[in-house]
Subunit: 294 residues, 2 copies
């Protein structure tokens, strides 16, 4: 199967979009019709979330290249949550979307193998997010799946305020996240595709644009997964520095800003508000990408 970076690049070209929609379903924020169905049992709650995800996927599929289910929200539903996690992944792939499971795992070798098997084989996502704190042998088992078209996104610089406590520590002449960036670029080297990008991507928060510009130079072959668009404060302009000179190499995630768009936009059908939010985000980002390409 094609390299994950090439699969992502193909989707970006085909859909003229770099939008990733985060599927972070909170039961208490579901639209009223689904919330009513969630109240009886844990299985009901999980089923309501699955139905919500299906309708969100239908609404955003024309505008997004991928969805990013956040494992925490499924784990919080207990055992039925994992059924819904798996069914959401399968359904999104059937609808032509790539799936990035946001699991942020990071563990020692034999355990990392089990996580890789869990998420890239059992749940069969196209890519996962990983935490670099344990170093290269916590990443390697996932890269064994690169020749099956799978990818990873390693946390480099996250968008939360306290990320500075660890990631911004001065490590020699660089900050820690800059050292991690060098490791990520290096881990990806054997896994580059025809697009020039590798199957080892990086999570780079949009809330620190100066850091993003510097990281783009430090990681020329690394696709950025940028969270923090919308609800976390960043906009398309903040993402500008993440794209390369041709407008490639970055996908941008929004979660609550899209899936719960109906909370602010009182159109009669909540699905229309979701679709409109995804379309607006796509257009917003395409303007920035086209600005880079000219």
């Amino acid at each position: 199967m094609s390299n994950f970076a090439d699969r992502l690049a193909e989707a970006i070209d085909r859909k003229a979009s770099c939008v990733v929609v985060g599927l972070d379903p909170r039961v208490d924020a579901l639209p009223p019709d689904l919330l009513a169905r969630a109240r009886q049992s844990k299985d009901d709650a999980a089923d309501a979330v699955l139905e919500f995800n299906r309708q969100v996927i239908a609404a955003v599929a024309p505008h997004a290249v991928a969805v990013k289910p956040q494992a925490a929200f499924y784990e919080a539903l207990g055992q039925p949550g994992f059924r819904v996690f798996g069914e959401t992944i399968r359904h999104a792939q059937q609808e032509g979307l790539l799936v990035i499971s946001d699991v942020k795992r990071g563990d020692v070798g034999s355990t990392a193998e089990a996580y890789a098997r869990a998420h890239l084989e059992e749940f069969d996502a196209d890519a996962v997010t990983l935490n670099p704190y344990l170093g290269g042998d916590s990443i390697a088992p996932f890269l064994d799946y690169a020749d099956r078209g799978k990818g990873v996104f390693v946390l480099v610089k996250t968008s939360n305020p306290s990320s500075v406590e660890v990631q911004d520590l001065e490590a020699g002449d660089k900050k820690l996240y800059q050292r991690v960036a060098e490791l990520v670029e290096q881990w990806g080297e054997p896994h580059r595709g025809r697009s020039g990008f590798s199957a080892v991507g990086a999570v780079v928060g949009a809330t620190f644009p100066e850091a993003a510009a510097e990281l783009r130079e430090r990681m020329p072959h690394t696709i950025f997964l940028v969270p923090g668009y919308g609800a976390q404060g960043g906009g398309a302009e903040d993402c500008r520095a993440c794209f390369d000179k041709r407008g490639y190499g970055t996908v941008v995630n929004s979660s609550r800003g899209i899936i719960f768009a109906y909370a602010k936009d009182k159109t009669p059908r909540w699905q229309d508000a979701v679709a409109e939010a995804a379309r607006r985000m796509k257009d917003d980002l395409e303007r920035v990408r086209r600005g880079k390409a000219t």
Copy 2:
């Protein structure tokens, strides 16, 4: 409910043991009778793992203070794995063991809240392991459960070879893991119990004894969870530096060395090999603890 550190100290005194048994079940390593039952379907495999865990728990309960189910091995079983994960936790608690869910989660605030709800409320473990790369606001939601007797163990220095790639980077006049150690001690300060230790523990690998001695001084109020005894190469002597002067402040984990002890020790009943491995580890560590206390 009592502070988690006090609950752990009480169990250590009552059982004269600081042993934690890692429940990392690999289906292909199950004893023959259970392996035969695991072959038909995913549900069968999960049921065989649950029965294995029940029998391991019965064998080690007299010798251990806690079990540490490693989430990866349950996730690798797909959806039925999470049923078994939950039932294992409940069963171990019924048998008088504390449960430390080894999940190594680490995520931004609202997602960390969902993970905390998942593991300290839904699955209802007594403690979880966490990754510090995202800083304090990825830890805080878990500490909201401290007054319900829950605890956390934050990765500081792990036992895998590539831990040096990130954790040992020089950050100012210290190594990164030493800076993280200071954060952990600080995060624990509002959560100290009568024992003097806090509900915020640290994961400190036994494979780096010099680092452990230095970390013991740097984190006087922090309980160490030490992996790497047995299968990962470390022995009780390597754990000596982790205990405080009175022989407290540390619990030591072994996973494969105990639960798969029958692979090396061909006693007629595999459960006897498991019990004997746990008893030997307890005695081995108690000698070291008593050596400190005198």
